[in-house]
């Protein structure tokens, strides 16, 4: 049986669905058009699902509707209830589901090739389709197991520290080579053992690839897995000759790849070095011994309130610590009080602040911070020199001047905020003991104009708000 070409309107419907997905991403170029874009995405999905259902002989409609209802219900409720701070792990969990769905679809296509129209006249699967489904199941399985580990690390159910196996590079490359070799061999021998071995090895390598990667490298990992979930969908689109799946797969694949690139660039790390893992593990060990004691000043909430009231401009630099302390709401209240008193308040967001791309922006939006008060690194960095106060809350490595000056530092070359140029710096931090993710000391702590506000971020902001209102 050769592929029977579907009627023209069906091809057209899938094409429209694909175009709607492009418009969904296009809408995200500005917050003003983004909601419209999201509706395009929903419409595209509806078109794809309905077209598939009406053009296939459906032997089990109640079961299918049941599956959609169960899955949809779970998804809907989760989406309504999830806290914005938990968004990174939610996205990781969603990635794992796409990966698993790809694995199941590829497995179903292998078991019932006739239904997918990929069986040749002799009942065997076409060699090209075998490569496509081999790749589909492998990428899907890597996406699944990798995302599960990323989810566990992000949700704190597993230590964020890198787990380094001996010989891990040899094991990983060997496994990868075995997967590719078996997929190649699959074109001449369609034995089930090959297919299932590829699947098992892919599940294994997804797990092995992510365990050596530390917590703060998760923005890259989550973006990378996002990309993989797209390539898995594209591979299955090739198998099914489905335009909507191919366009979407390519869109999602490039989206994840671009986000990974942006994140790597914002850390001045190569993609390979992130994937190789282990960052932060060695640095933390070496800095432990040779740490000199330097003088630093401790400030109080009253000091901070007083200085910021006197200031003309304040720039707030939030980081992952703000998310952990859930301090975004009280932080916005603090900014509101200051604005009422005539102080200009802006927020500065580093591309890798938080645990996923755009994480800080979402949290500030949740706290009703208007998006036109929130600025990206390159747009605001020159303003620190004129700012009266830099208020750093839960960030550390992204304000470390060592990235500019110290060639031996693990974060050398990473673009950082020039907070050291501000007249006064307030650094909200839980204790002096903890170092940032990179495990390096931060000269900003010891500058003359710096006052350390040692407390929980939320508690500190509450105290500052109280002091401001006196």
């Amino acid at each position: 049986m050769e592929h029977v070409a579907p009627p023209a309107w069906v091809m057209l419907a899938y094409l429209i669905s694909g175009v709607f997905f492009i418009l969904a991403l296009r809408g995200l170029s500005s917050p003003a058009t983004s909601q419209q874009g999201n509706r395009f995405g929903m419409a595209g999905m509806l078109i794809a699902v309905v077209t598939t259902l009406v053009t296939h002989e459906v032997a089990s409609l109640p079961e299918i509707l049941g599956a959609i209802a169960i899955g949809g219900g779970i998804g809907w409720v989760t989406a309504r209830k999830i806290a914005m701070t938990d968004m990174p792990q939610l996205v990781a969990a969603f990635h794992s589901l796409v990966g698993m769905a790809a694995v199941l679809v590829a497995a179903a296509a292998f078991l019932n090739p006739v239904a997918f129209g990929i069986a040749g006249e002799d009942g065997l699967i076409n060699p090209v389709s075998r490569v496509e489904m081999g790749l589909g199941i492998a990428i899907g399985a890597i996406t699944f197991s990798g995302s599960v580990i990323a989810f566990l690390k992000l949700a704190g159910k597993m230590s964020g520290a890198p787990i380094l196996l001996p010989l891990r590079h040899v094991i990983n490359l060997g496994t990868l080579a075995a997967i590719l070799g078996l997929i190649g061999y699959f074109t001449v021998d369609q034995s089930p053992w090959i297919f299932w071995t590829v699947t098992a090895l892919a599940f294994l390598i997804g797990f092995l690839l992510i365990i050596p990667i530390g917590g703060a490298d998760m923005p890259v990992v989550v973006s990378m897995l996002n990309s993989y979930s797209g390539w898995a969908a594209a591979a299955m689109g090739f198998t099914l000759h489905n335009t909507a799946m191919i366009i979407t797969g390519a869109l999602v694949g490039s989206s994840g790849a671009i986000l990974s690139y942006i994140m790597c660039k914002a850390m001045n790390r190569s993609f390979i070095s992130v994937i190789a893992g282990g960052f932060g593990a060695e640095a933390a060990v070496s800095s432990g011994e040779a740490k000199e004691q330097r003088p630093w000043k401790r400030g109080s909430a009253e000091d901070a309130a007083y200085m910021m009231q006197q200031a003309e401009s304040v720039i707030i630099v939030p980081g992952y610590g703000m998310a952990v302390a859930q301090a975004q709401h009280i932080l916005r209240e603090m900014a509101d009080v200051l604005k009422k008193q005539g102080v200009s308040v802006k927020y500065a967001i580093h591309p890798v602040a938080g645990r996923m791309p755009g994480h800080m922006n979402v949290l500030l939006a949740e706290a009703s911070v208007p998006y036109d008060e929130v600025f990206e690194l390159e747009d605001i960095n020159s303003e620190f020199a004129q700012a009266d106060v830099a208020f750093i809350i839960g960030a550390n490595d992204v304000v470390n001047p060592a990235a500019k000056t110290d060639k031996t530092s693990p974060i050398y070359g990473m673009p950082v905020f020039d907070v050291d140029k501000a007249k006064t710096v307030f650094f909200v931090k839980r204790s002096m003991g903890g170092v940032g993710y990179a495990g390096v000391d931060n000269d900003v702590f010891y500058m003359d104009q710096t006052m350390m506000l040692l407390a929980d971020a939320k508690k500190m902001c509450e105290d500052i708000v109280k002091a401001l209102q006196h």
Binding site: A5, F21, A24, L25, R26, L28, S29, P31, S34, G37, N38, G41, M45, V49, T52, L53, H56, I64, A67, I68, G71, G72, G75, T78, A79, R80, M87, V91, F94, L97, V98, M100, A101, L104, V105, A108, N112, A115, F116, M236, F238, L240, T243, A244, M245, I246, T248, A250, L251, V252, S254, S255, I258, I262, P357, G358, A365, D372, V374, E376
Partner: protein, 93 residues
């Protein structure tokens, strides 16, 4: 469709994806990930074909599970994106 036409669509779509994604504002990168998540669940098309077909009961059940998983993502992904996007507001003047 022959392999080359499909490949052409794929390559063109990669280029479209490249330019469209670079135009996304960094402030919306988290919603971008959530919505790409939702749309990559278009893999539900394959799951529906497997779930709807007779022939192999195992394949059918694998398909139905895949339909359920993809549905979690579709409904969850679009809903959470909508929820996030509704929070982005301009300054009141």
């Amino acid at each position: 469709m022959d392999f080359i036409s499909i490949l052409s669509i794929f390559v063109m779509a990669c280029f479209v994806g490249y330019y469209v994604v670079w135009s996304v504002t960094p402030a919306l990168h988290t919603p971008l990930m959530a919505v790409t998540n939702a749309i990559s669940s278009v893999i539900i098309v394959g799951a529906l074909i497997a779930g709807a077909a007779g022939g192999s009961p195992t394949a059918k059940w694998l398909g139905l599970i895949a339909v359920a998983l993809a549905s979690v993502n579709i409904f969850g992904g679009f809903a959470v994106t909508a929820r996030m996007l509704a929070m982005y507001k301009k300054k009141e003047r």
